[in-house]
């Protein structure tokens, strides 16, 4: 009986994961094909001869606000589920004016659905954590990105080659179907929320989150830039662009998804960097014909696929160390939208100074190089901070004797004083300098000085490195 019960539970978990991925993929396909600079929206605006930039900008800004703010409104799993369903409903209503002639309802609809779409996406952070095991989150993220992009390509092809209205109907169908899948998911897994509250002890999530946002912003600023610089050059290849645009992106995601878990992520990051630079260089050297487009787009979108899954997987990891997965997921993705906006603005600025195509590409390439140089150190810091959280969580679950053993096993250049041992214990329990100062009734600058001495004695440069070294030591033993 227990085995049968376990099997049933496992089946339920798998079903929930599939439903969650399918529901979100459909929602995301709606966003990509319509709301977020989608071809359906562009086709509708072109069909009615409406100037598009203000509408598109309004939708993106509203989407950013929705992603960023949703986590502050959601306080429980039930709220996350209903926020997602409610937001998808609002998107549905706000999209209907596009079946009619342009009016103020279009702008209002885009702003409202932009905001609601942001909230719906952020809310999925809860489902990602609840229904996907930690080591499988990269696969779930890859799945939603792959499926949503495949659906988006299908909708785009219809909107461009058949009719924008049919494209709009398909987008809305995605939204409705996505709502049905999310509706079928259970909401009442409160223990996941309480687990997160427990994890709050293992250090502050603000610093890694801030670093992650910077990382995502730097990565996606290049996407925004390339939209503005490269896309207009191949506008005349409408048919090819409509279906091939996201194909390299999907292939890159599929390759990344199936990489062994042991694969070094930093190396993949370097491959992505090389590809995006290659894209800009080939853009400068090649012509503007279909084969040239295939080369440039393959390199560029392939790199985007690598980068996107890279930071999505980091967000997935971070969900374990947060009080509120909706907040972390939403804020992480909002950095992506901000990056697209920043890159877009940069692209507009570069292209508006009326330089030749080659000069524009050189400037864009320089910007890309500068931003990409920032990625490896940011990645190192981020990995270090995430390792800290992983270690502190494991350390906290150990018995007092095991904790002492780990510290003893670490070789120091010089023995720690009693006071330094006390400070070290508090550092390893995830306390900040200020908290340690309060606990030991000493000043914060005293704690900092002791910490500096401890780092020196362990021959490490920072708290993150100390914890990381302890983690390595623990895994060796």
């Amino acid at each position: 009986m227990p085995a049968g019960g376990d099997g049933l539970n496992q089946l339920k978990v798998v079903n929930n994961r599939i439903f969650s991925i399918t529901g979100f993929s459909l929602l995301f396909a709606y966003l990509l094909s319509f709301l977020f600079e989608g071809q359906v929206l562009y086709s509708m605006l072109a069909y009615h001869n409406v100037k598009d930039s203000a509408y598109i900008l309004a939708a993106i800004v509203a989407h950013f606000v929705g992603l960023f703010s949703c986590g502050y409104l959601i306080k429980s799993p039930t709220a996350a589920k209903y926020m997602m369903l409610g937001s998808m409903g609002v998107c549905l209503i706000a999209t209907t004016p596009f079946f009619f002639a342009p009016s103020v309802l279009w702008a209002a609809g885009l702003i409202v659905s932009g905001y609601a779409g942001g909230c719906a996406v952020a809310s999925w952070g809860y489902f990602l954590k609840a229904f996907t095991p930690k080591n499988q989150r990269i696969k779930s993220c890859a799945d939603v990105l792959i499926y949503s992009n495949i659906i988006m390509i299908a909708v785009n092809v219809v909107a461009i080659n058949l009719s924008p209205f049919i494209g709009l109907i398909l987008s809305i169908f995605c939204l409705v179907a996505g709502t049905a899948f999310i509706w079928a998911l259970p909401a009442g897994t409160e223990e996941i929320w309480s687990e997160e509250t427990e994890n709050k002890r293992y250090g502050d999530i603000k610093k890694p989150l801030l670093l992650l946002c910077l990382f995502v912003f730097v990565i996606t600023i290049n996407s925004g830039l390339m939209y503005q610089v490269i896309n207009p050059a191949f506008e005349h290849l409408t048919g090819l662009v409509s279906w091939y645009w996201a194909v390299p992106y999907i292939i890159a995601l599929a390759v990344m998804r199936n990489l062994p878990m042991k694969a070094k992520r930093s190396r993949i990051l370097y491959i992505g960097m090389a590809m995006i630079m290659g894209a800009f260089i080939s853009f400068m050297l090649l012509g503007r014909h279909a084969p040239d487009y295939l080369v440039v787009d393959t390199l560029m979108l392939g790199a985007c696929g690598i980068f996107d899954l890279f930071w999505w997987s980091i967000i997935g990891e971070m969900l374990d160390y947060t009080e509120n997965p909706v907040k972390v997921f939403g804020i992480g993705l909002s950095a992506n939208v901000l990056g697209v906006l920043g890159g877009g603005a940069l692209g507009v600025a570069i292209t508006s100074i009326r330089l030749s195509g080659a000069e524009v590409a050189v400037i864009a390439l320089t910007v890309v190089c500068v931003t990409l140089v920032m990625l490896p150190p940011l990645n190192t810091q981020l990995v270090m901070l995430l390792k800290n959280h992983a270690y502190l969580a494991a350390y906290d679950r150990m018995s007092g004797m095991q904790q002492t053993d780990i510290i003893r096993q670490m070789k120091t250049l010089e023995e720690l004083t009693v006071r330094e041992q006390e400070v070290l214990q508090h550092i390893l329990s995830g306390k900040s300098n200020r908290e340690i100062a309060v606990t030991l009734s000493i000043s914060e600058s005293t704690v900092k000085t002791h910490a500096r001495n401890i780092f020196s004695k362990y021959n490490v440069g920072s708290r993150a490195e100390l914890i990381s070294t302890l983690l390595k030591n623990q895994s060796y033993t």
């Binding site: 004083t417 009693v418 005293t446 020196s456």
Partner: protein, 169 residues
């Protein structure tokens, strides 16, 4: 400590005044005067930074005080002894004699370290250095109670890892 704070405040005032006057001279415009005040501002800024660091060190020493005595005898190997009548604070991270600071235990294994501590009936002898230079300071500790001496020994060991050698008690 008070003297250091006073000096730091003086340099803050000088720096702000220099900036204001340099701005005023630039607006007038009096290029030569602006340059003089500008240079004075930079100089006072540098002194301000130095005093702020000194003040930080002094605060750290006072926050972690182990022993406060009214006078000290300072001796370096090969030099003559100097008597100092200013207030002296011995702490986990150094010693402050008036507004002069000797630091130790601040930069881990490579920096200046407290090496030995000897306590007799009247004096406490502290030796510290970084391997290339060693300094010895004698203080009149003024402790008459054995328990107070043992407390100082305990605190020194706990905070710095140095075991004080007690003689004559």
């Amino acid at each position: 400590m008070k003297a250091i704070r006073k000096r730091r405040n003086c340099f803050t005032v000088l720096f702000v005044a220099g900036i204001v006057l340099a701005t005023w001279a630039t607006v007038k415009p009096m290029v030569a005067t602006a340059s003089v005040f500008g240079a004075a501002s930079i100089a006072s800024l540098m002194l301000l930074i130095k005093q702020s660091r000194l003040f930080y060190d002094a605060s750290l020493i006072c926050d972690n005080s182990i022993l406060a005595v009214p006078s000290a005898v300072i001796s370096m190997p090969g030099d003559k002894e100097q008597m100092n009548k200013k207030e002296v604070v011995v702490s986990s991270f150094g010693i402050m004699i008036g507004s002069k600071i000797y630091k130790w235990g601040r930069t881990g294994v490579d920096g200046v370290r407290l090496n030995t501590v000897d306590i007799d009936r009247t004096r406490i002898y502290l030796t510290f250095g970084d391997g290339t230079e060693t300094m010895r300071i004698e203080l009149m500790h003024g402790m008459a109670d054995e328990q107070a001496v043992m407390d100082v020994k305990e605190r020194l060991w706990r905070e710095t890892g140095v075991t004080a050698i007690i003689s004559g008690w």
